[in-house]
């Protein structure tokens, strides 16, 4: 078993964990966005509520989501460990600033990640916790269905608050920066670096870093300014 501990506590092992969990979280972000876009389908939330019911009751999804929570915790924990270890390895910084042309995000992943973590806690408290562990969400009945929780209504109540909309959009900008560096970085960490494909990987990373946050941000903005 010693190879496991030596791998997980080695520099490269820690980074491989960051990369695998981070890239997995990106696939989650894609799936989650497609589901959430049903919020602005304009059907009063029917499709979204049925989807939310499925996502919270289907045993397979339940199983996958436990993995997802573990990934978030592992990624955040490992990220912070890396941050503090790196800080002590660096010791002092040069008095004059280094002007090498590197991505700003690459030097601020821990700050960006911590902001995302705050967002996730608030976000899960607002929706996930209320949906799963409380009875505060009213029920709604659709043709041929037992009454199910009206998560759509819970979302719209939250989105009525302009402060929430602003903080949501801000968090998506933060996410965009995290992904701007994170996607390509994850591949490099895994050793997937080839002059032939680097351009493609970087391109996909930048595409996702722009499209995913915009996709998410559109939902509260569209609701607040158009649907309300």
């Amino acid at each position: 078993m010693s190879w496991i501990t030596s791998f997980f506590s080695s520099s490269i092992g820690r980074k491989v964990i960051m990369s695998l969990t981070g890239l997995f979280l990106i696939t989650f972000l894609i799936v989650h966005l497609i589901g959430n876009l049903q919020l602005i389908a304009g059907d009063g939330g029917e499709a979204f509520n049925q989807y939310a019911y499925f996502m919270t009751t289907n045993p397979l999804i339940k199983f996958v989501s436990i993995g997802l929570y573990a990934m978030i915790v592992l990624h955040a924990y490992q990220g912070l460990v890396i941050y503090f270890k790196n800080k002590s390895a660096k010791g002092g910084k040069p008095t004059a600033k280094n002007k090498a042309d590197v991505k700003w995000a690459s030097k601020n992943m821990a700050l960006l990640g911590t902001l995302i973590l705050f967002f996730l806690i608030v976000h899960m408290g607002d929706f996930w916790f209320k949906m799963k562990f409380t009875d505060t969400i009213p029920l709604v009945t659709y043709d041929g269905w037992e009454p199910i929780k009206n998560l759509y209504q819970q979302v719209t109540i939250t989105f009525d608050n302009p402060l929430f909309v602003v903080s949501y959009v801000f968090s998506m900008v933060v996410l965009g920066f995290h992904l701007w560096h994170g996607f390509g970085s994850g591949f490099q960490t895994l050793g997937l670096n080839h002059s032939k494909y680097n351009g493609l990987i970087d391109g996909i990373g930048k595409f996702l870093a722009i499209v995913l946050p915009i996709g998410y941000a559109i939902i509260p903005l569209y609701y607040y300014f158009v649907m309300r």
């Binding site: 791998f7 080695s10 980074k15 790196n86 660096k90 010791g91 090498a100 670096n193």
Partner: protein, 249 residues
Amino acid sequence: MKLTLKVWRQKNSKAKGELESYQVEASEHMSFLEMMDVLNEQLIVEKKSPIAFDHDCREGICGSCSMTINGSPHGPQSGTTTCQLHMRKFKDGDTIVVEPWRSSVFPVIKDLTVDRGAFDRIIQSGGYISVNTGQAPDGNAIPIEKDLASNAFDAAACIGCGACVAACPNGSAMLFTAAKVSHLNQLPQGKVEQTRRTASMVAQMDKEGFGMCSNVGACEAECPKEISIEHIARMNREYVASIFGGRKS
């Protein structure tokens, strides 16, 4: 050309250290180290302690001349060591800040000299080939694919200067270690020990307390030998293989 130099002065590894200002008159044909020599002669005449800095070959091959110039390890010219940097890269009247490598693994010995013993220990842990590989003709007798040979040669260009560590915001030594691993692992003489080499050099690198690579790329930008972070990717692959597969080839 008249220059103002702000140089890091530190008596020993325990002292606090600070930047001190000096005026120096240099010619644009001088190398940066020659300009430092002029300043030191001036200090000796003034009965002040000269600035300690490492240098040896002064032709870009030994990796001694560790100076962070205006925040840039080895100064503003890319692909160039401090000893090969010429004063014509600066303008009359410039203020130049000169500091040692900054890393907690490279403690300052005095002024601009740092202790890079950690690199020696990484090399000792696996940066060698155990068998006798003969003379140059023996090397030439083994056919090696051009791509492999060029790639290993690019990695072999690393002079072990430590600029990558100084440039890295995380104080990571991955570029140096990867260059050595990549150089030896790709050639038939070194491939035999690939698994053990990769595992033990990475373990030593970690033990020394270097940081972890965030793929920032500052090392590659500042490296005087323009070693590519592609070698880091190769080391990562081989490290994972060495841990999980115990791959022998």
